[in-house]
Amino acid sequence: MKNPFVMGCGEFHVNYKQDLAIWKISRVRVRVMVMVALLAIFPLIASDYIVGLATLCGIAAIGALGLNILTGFTGQISIGVGAFLGVGGYTSAILTAKLGLSFWIAMPTAGIITAIVGGLFGLPSLRLKGLYLAIATLAAQVIILFVISRWDTLTGGTAGMVLSRPEIGSFVFNSETSYFYLMFVILIGTTIFTLNLFRSRVGRAFIAVRDRDIAAEVMGINLFKYKVLAFIVSSFFVGVAGALLGHYTMVVSPELYSITVSIEYLAIILVGGLGSVFGSIYGAVFITLLPVFLRTGVELLSGVFPDLSNVLNGMKEVVFGLVIILFLIYEPEGLAKIWKNIKDYFKLWPFSY
């Protein structure tokens, strides 16, 4: 029997099938299954507060996976994620509250509507790249938020709208635990889709566009089609995340989707790792928990510095900015890379050269 504590010391593939596998070594598959199983039973043990935080992390991870498809894998910078989350949240809110549709229709529709809006704002990507595209998506953010906060008859204006929790038959997803499972299923679905996307022709085309778009065009990739497609796929998941978030917090209002949210999502994929599927999840957990830990820290120190809690919001912004800058300077490939470095260290230990 194999010793379960022995680490693999490299990947030795002898055929293409192994090379294309999602989990290159069967032991990794077992490890991932164990992780998923642990996450699945964790809400049964943990307190409601922690399960709630985990749900928020998961929703952020779904949105971040979407953004990573666009920014990390296709190289199109988007500063408009906040507004796209809003489109998702509002679509779901309007469909369920005004038209009386069920959540199970509203959520995919929210994804599709957001995908259409995203594709529309992705159209300039044909002519614009880099800085110019980033600025165009910033304009999308401002314009979409304006429409949301001014279209009173449809969106309830600045007052926002109230949503209800989804239900199946007579079962309502009211408890933290049940909503966690709802999010968990969608997160797993999104992760599997994204992992497989980049084993397909479309996903490889995305990566080619990111690495050098002119070279990709020469290879016969239709740049316009794939860039807009990246916007559509990415916005779909952002929209789904928006709908999930809306039904979780049970309220949507314009200030929940401001540019700070866009920056938060960019920070997530940056801290997690651009172009890394699991990185998006690590980043989502890191950035969502950062303010929580900060608040705990401030509460601990409040005996020594009583004024500290007054400046918590400001401090949050400072720490947030510093985290972005420090990651960019010291580990631009993010937590995913740090985790890989740690694994590599042990893989080759004690002969790490």
Binding site: G314, F320, I324, L328
Partner: protein
């Protein structure tokens, strides 16, 4: 007609401040290819420093202005050295995210130090309005316009005749050639950040005198983007003309269209214009078209 002229004058004054802030923005882009999303925070910090010096230490306005500008220049230097230097030659997204992170950190600092409430500058310019035919203009507007024009003239001469200004133009034109002529490109980057911080501070202090000072003043930092894009990201005359156009259009929207839609369109109009420019003329009025070679 009087209403139209009134709007036009206000638009030109607001636009001239935009032009000034956009000048700093364009300067950074020209010399180091970086987009500075923290421009609005530079503006905010300069304004708050000046305001604090006047209200808390009773320093006369001119002296306070001078100290605030010195402070901004140092701030620009330090930030370029610590935050931006590692990103020279890095991909665009790193640079964009670094300045976004910077703006978040600086905005947080401003909240911690100065809080959220709106503060007003003490009366510096005379209050009695000036009448020009049917149009009534507050002196602070005239002074703003005068100061902006003086600043723009100073910069024109600076770039045309001073050694440093010529070196900056050379660097913007071709970094390698400039380097081989003995120009320290790093110094040029630092100077352009310092100048950007100084012109933003002047813009902020002028706007602060008109509208009062609070954290929302940093929104100018984003409004500069439409201005710079309209004029062409790498064109200084473009920034000035773009600023005036955007300022006038914005004020006209506020005057004529906002009552129809219930307000708020004024703030969004620059971005709607931005989308159209990007769609039809991405390099703006005077921008240099980038030609990509494989």
């Amino acid at each position: 007609m009087a209403f139209f002229l009134q709007m036009l004058v206000t638009g030109i004054v607001v636009g001239s401040v935009y032009a000034l802030v956009a000048l700093g923005f364009v300067l950074i882009y020209k010399s180091s290819d970086a987009i500075n999303f923290a421009q609005g925070e530079f503006l905010l910090i300069g304004t708050y420093v000046c305001l604090t010096l006047i209200t808390a230490y009773n320093i006369p306005f001119i002296v306070a202005l001078f100290i605030a500008l010195m402070f901004s220049a140092v701030l620009g230097f330090v930030i370029e050295r610590i935050v931006l230097r590692p990103f020279i030659g890095e991909p665009v997204i790193s640079m964009i995210m670094a300045t976004i992170g910077l703006s978040s950190a600086l905005a947080g600092l401003v909240h911690i130090i100065w809080g959220h409430e709106t503060r007003v500058f003490p009366q510096i310019f005379p209050e009695a309005p000036v009448r020009l035919g049917e149009v009534v203009i507050s002196p602070v507007y005239i002074w703003s316009l005068v100061i902006v024009i003086i600043m723009l003239i100073i910069f024109t001469f600076f770039f045309k005749y001073s050694k440093l200004g010529i070196a900056m133009r050379a660097t913007a034109d071709d970094q390698q050639a400039a380097m081989s002529m003995g120009i320290s490109v790093k110094t040029i980057f630092a100077v352009s950040w310092a100048i950007a911080a100084v012109v933003s501070a002047v813009g902020g202090i002028l706007l602060g005198n008109i509208n009062g000072v609070n954290a929302s003043l940093s929104a100018i930092g984003l409004k500069v983007l439409p201005v710079a894009i309209l004029g062409g990201l790498d064109s200084i005359p473009g920034a000035i003309i773009g600023g005036l156009i955007i300022g006038v259009i914005e004020t006209m929207t506020g005057g004529y269209l906002d009552p129809l839609v219930g307000g708020g369109l004024k703030e969004v109009m620059p971005f709607i214009i931005l989308v159209f420019i990007l769609m039809f003329k991405p390099y703006g009025l005077f921008g240099k078209k980038e030609i990509e070679r494989v």
